[in-house]
């Protein structure tokens, strides 16, 4: 390296006599593949894409209902496409995973104190699960009755 260039690059750390050369490990691009917990984290983050797919489908449904019977029939036909059915089954799996992982994380982010004590985690996550089951059951009843 030319001396002039060397002078312009500032060394990141000041090495002393007793620390002649530190080894600086590099993080691989595939850091999330080697470890189970990291992989689960990445899957949890990626699952938000499938949440977005369900949101878009719901918006398309509302738009079809607003436009008229023909548009609604067209929407139903799109939903019957085998590819869309496979996509929806895969999406459902990821959305359920997304919901469970976030419900389980909620107690550590939102501690609730009552009577001078912190409520147990089950008291925070429990109602969320109950609401999930109750709302799902209500929608099932609404659709299948």
């Amino acid at each position: 390296m030319p001396v002039a260039l060397q002078a312009t690059i500032k060394p990141p750390v000041q090495y002393t006599e007793f620390h002649p050369r530190w080894y600086r490990p590099k993080v691989s691009v595939y850091w999330w593949l080697g470890e189970r917990h990291y992989f689960k984290f990445i899957v949890r983050e990626l699952s938000s894409v499938f949440v977005a797919i369900f949101v878009i489908e719901t918006l398309l449904l509302i738009n079809a209902l607003r436009t008229g019977p023909d548009a609604y029939a067209q929407f139903l036909q799109l939903m019957q496409n085998p590819l869309v059915i496979v996509l929806n089954i895969v999406s459902l799996f990821f959305v359920v995973f997304h919901t469970i992982t976030w419900f389980n994380l909620a107690p550590s982010a939102t501690p609730v104190r009552m009577g001078g004590k912190r409520l147990p985690d089950a008291m925070i996550a429990g109602p969320a699960y109950l609401a999930w089951v109750a709302i799902s059951a209500f929608i099932c009843w609404l659709v299948l009755r």
Binding site: H19, P20, W22, Y23, V27, W31, H37, F41, S108, K117
Partner: protein, 257 residues
């Protein structure tokens, strides 16, 4: 339980090596031995040049943290017997994401700088005199922050956090949890002074809630929880600034609402 186990230990000599390599040592497995005992056995009987940090060997000094089979562990609290079966090996490496000085010794100067930025000490807005007496605190007020105060600065959470590895300027779990520990302390009045460091892309907003810091913490501090709680407090404080642009108080940041 096998009576001997092979330990593969990362060795790095800055004078001669470009990168670390592994050396294998066979050590006896005794029921009461932890990984640190095995390292001491190697240093005393096999290879005196093996370099690592340790002090109290009772899980309070926080200096013997290493990667044991890829997991950040306090080696004084990790028993050999839990690995010694079916010809298993134990792989010991320096804590991940830190520069390595020699063998198993990491460079923690960067961590110390980050810790200082979080201002983990009692700050008072008023200039109280000693003659006014001590600050009183109820058991309930103590209970609010006690969990976060158990941190021993062992840096296992930094070795667990992928954000620390990918983004070296991220303040990191322990420093953020300790800042939150003081924010939630009823005696502290410095929450507003910590805002610049905490409510920052390199502060709590750098955290993606992987949650590994909480999982590996040997003192059950729950840094991930502390960070998410601060995120919520920061958002509430930001929303409040629209309602009362002037006379902002750091009540929500201090968790005293």
């Amino acid at each position: 339980m096998a009576d001997k186990i092979v330990m593969e230990i990362a060795r790095y000599s800055p004078e001669s090596d470009h990168e670390p390599h592994f050396e294998s040592y066979e050590v006896p497995v005794k029921r009461e031995w932890v990984v640190l005992d095995a390292l001491n056995h190697i240093k005393d009987n096999v290879d005196g040049s093996l370099t690592y940090r340790w002090s109290c060997r009772m899980g309070i000094c926080g200096s013997c943290g290493m990667m044991v089979n890829g997991e950040p562990k306090l080696t004084c609290a990790t028993f050999l017997s839990s690995y010694a079966r079916n010809g298993n090996k134990i792989r010991v490496e320096p804590l991940r994401y830190f520069p390595v000085i020699r063998d198993l010794v990491t460079e923690i100067g960067g961590f110390m700088e980050k810790l200082k930025k979080a201002k983990p000490w009692l700050m008072r807005a008023t200039n109280d005199q000693l003659s006014e007496g001590t600050y009183l605190q109820t058991p309930e007020q103590l209970d609010r922050y006690k969990q976060f105060s158990m941190c021993i600065n062992c840096t296992l959470c930094y070795a667990a956090c992928p954000v620390v590895g990918l983004d070296p300027v991220f303040i990191g779990p322990a420093a953020l949890a300790l800042a939150q520990r003081y924010n939630m302390d009823s005696r502290d009045q410095g929450a507003a002074e910590r805002t610049a460091t905490l409510a920052h892309p390199d502060g709590v907003w750098g955290c993606t809630f992987v949650g590994e810091c909480t999982r590996v913490c040997p003192k059950h501090v729950d840094p991930a929880g502390a960070i998410q709680q601060y995120k919520i407090a920061a958002v509430i404080d930001w929303l409040k600034s629209f309602v009362t642009p002037r006379g902002r108080d750091a009540g929500s940041l201090a968790g005293n609402d």
